[in-house]
Symmetry: C2
Subunit: 411 residues, 2 copies
């Protein structure tokens, strides 16, 4: 399933076969993929297919930001992340479905494990395309839970780096204090390979190997009462597995209880600024969800916003102190299994805290809930220690069950 072993023709047939049901792409041009596979420069990502979330500019495909305002919009050039991947030999498979401006209005993508269920938002298309083996690397983004949650719902690996690690040039802003690019991949090794390209202007040699954390902290978070059976089962199972190999302790998280509200305050205020033109000039073409977000932001005073920013900075200091005791934290990635599509894209509650704290997070698949649908867990490391987190995530991935495969792929 890691792609480089599948020949391009088979891969294109695979996409053509499953795309009508999965609807992961807003644009995908087989002729261009074939041409690009032939002409891509040699590099560490040669032969890898990449799905690019459609809030990210591309020269060769339209970029619609999930918004009716930008239907058919053509950017002049590729976003920095796309340019870096292409220069490293990767080939774009196309643009993947996002919710409107990476917020809540869902696109058409279905969950590969059950077409009645959501793949999550907002990196819906990237997560579903990776789960189905249509692409090797899905470029995703997260302002609240937009990467971690679809990775959890689709049974794949999600990596959101330390805030600021990947360049955002050419990416539509939603809440700039939190907006971060990341990847969705079949496994941690592929996330590491992509990171070596996306973190630099020049691809770096990677020497990351699995390493056991000396002490893991289990963070049920202050929102544990919102965890459903799937997440409770997954967290219990992860704790059982890891504690057979290293020290595992429960972490008291009450002092972080304000984080979710702080995150909402900062994100809403900033979205009202970032989307000022869309609101002032094209309000009738925005969804009620986006108008609601912006109007909530407009009702927040600058003083309230700045207070929230100061509190967020204080919590980041508190989080740094946690890592003097724990080398890795394990937390829920979502409230449970993917909800029905009629219920939306799921709750971001279990990611708001970590996004606010700017910590790198790897969401790992392997566990399932009562419906036999995927449920991820997320592993977190200290701010700026992305390589160390990868080492621990490789270790954890090897202990967890193999990621579940959509039934469509088992035949």
């Amino acid at each position: 399933m890691t792609g480089q072993t599948i020949d391009p023709t088979a891969r294109l047939a695979h996409i053509a076969r499953f795309e009508p049901e999965i609807r992961a792409f807003t644009a995908c041009d087989p002729a261009r993929i074939e041409a690009d596979l032939r002409t891509a420069p040699p590099g560490p990502l040669s032969g890898r297919l990449v799905g690019v979330k459609d809030i990210i500019d591309t020269a060769h495909y339209p970029t619609g930001y999930g918004s009716d305002i930008y239907a058919g919009h053509r950017a002049t050039g590729d976003a920095a992340c796309v340019a870096l991947l292409r220069a490293a030999g990767a080939t774009m498979a196309g643009k993947t479905v996002t919710t409107e401006f990476a917020f809540f209005r869902p696109g058409p993508t279905t969950n590969p494990f059950d077409p009645a269920r959501t793949p999550g938002g907002s990196s819906s298309g990237s997560a579903a395309a990776v789960a189905m083996g249509m692409v090797d690397i899905g470029i995703a983004s997260q302002t609240a839970a937009s990467l971690t949650r679809p990775a959890s719902y689709c049974g794949v690996v999600g990596f959101k780096p330390t805030y600021g690690r990947y360049a955002l040039s050419g990416v539509k802003a939603l809440g700039p204090s939190f907006d971060a690019l990341g990847t969705i991949t079949p496994d941690v090794a592929t996330a590491i390979a992509a990171d070596a390209v996306l973190a630099g202007p020049v691809p770096a040699a990677s020497t990351i190997v699995p390493r056991a954390p000396a002490r893991i902290g289990i963070c049920r978070t202050p929102w544990w009462h919102e965890a459903e059976d799937g997440t409770r089962m997954a967290m219990a199972e992860a704790e059982r597995i890891f504690s057979a190999h290293t020290t595992v302790e429960m972490v008291e998280m009450d002092e972080f209880a304000a984080a979710a509200d702080l995150h909402i305050t900062i994100m809403s205020f900033e979205a009202a600024q970032a989307l000022a033109w869309e609101y002032q000039a094209r309000r009738e073409t925005c969804s009620p969800q986006i108008v609601g977000l912006i109007e909530a932001g407009r009702a927040i005073t600058r003083a309230t916003y700045e207070h929230a920013q100061n509190e967020a900075a204080r919590l980041r200091t508190r989080a740094a102190a946690l890592f003097t005791r724990y080398d890795m934290l394990v937390a829920p990635a979502a409230p449970g299994e993917a909800p029905l599509r009629t219920q939306g894209t799921g709750s971001p509650i279990f990611s708001r805290l970590w996004t606010l704290l700017y910590l790198p997070t790897v969401t790992l698949p392997g566990l399932v809930g009562p419906l036999n649908m995927p449920v991820g867990i997320q592993c977190l490391g200290p701010h700026g220690a992305d390589e160390t987190l990868f080492e621990h995530a490789l270790w954890a991935e090897a202990l967890l069950p193999t990621r579940p495969l959509p039934s469509l792929l088992k035949s």
Copy 2:
């Protein structure tokens, strides 16, 4: 000269008269200005004309980022800052000249005090247009010294807020860790009026009045040996004036000596990421200056970059400690008077430190050098205390000589 007292017809004639010599605009449409003046919504900036630096997206004018790659480029919508100003009643006068990608390749703008001299870079057009009274508010940006230096060279007020205060949605990135929007205005009061709009999604009521700082620190900075006579004269005069009214002390700044190099490291690394597409796909259409910047960035390892970021964070903590003693700092805004255009846009050395420290800065005009050309001084306040800095800047502005007027405007 504050604009709202000049009727629109006279203002348009004024622009038409002086633009052929000043060349402040990349695009300026008198018919549109007249129409917009009639139809602008009522608001706190009604009747004010705004010049928008051409690295900032606009729906109604081309946006070229100062780059041949983007000649004639049309953005779909207005950048957030433009939308906020328009919603507050302001009218766009057009797009103002920038250097290429807000870096070093100069545009055609001349200094209003001497056409053989540079207006500074990169916010060249905004500074010259404000100095000439063509616009009331120039939107500018700063990644190194791109706002402070042209304000100094053109004898106008420059305000770069605390990093992050103004939304960057729709602004071309150069070095995202430093990129900041700000304003160039005829006086501090106009900067305050613009700030009340740009800092919110909703315009705020302002209660800012002049207030004397209890203790001023004079920061010659570790680069004082690069100060020319004009800056030495201006700093001595500012010290003499302020010390007649409050306590003024010299600040030892040696511990900040590494800041300029740290700034260059971070900016170069990030420019190589942010402009990855331009470098990979359009290198032959980039200036040698931009290619040089990107290639310098590509030679920096991620470890070196992260070390520089950590050192920068440490210096920000040291700067916060300075403000326990001083409520305002005063520092050079540029090495001296504007150099000849044949020599480029001037040295950014006296702003790199403050940009790195994320501090708000107001550059004040009034003083002149041996050539009788303007030389600014910059006033700095603590991180996040932009309103307090405005109070102190109003006090300082009232004590300094009235800003010099270009000879073209004296007739």
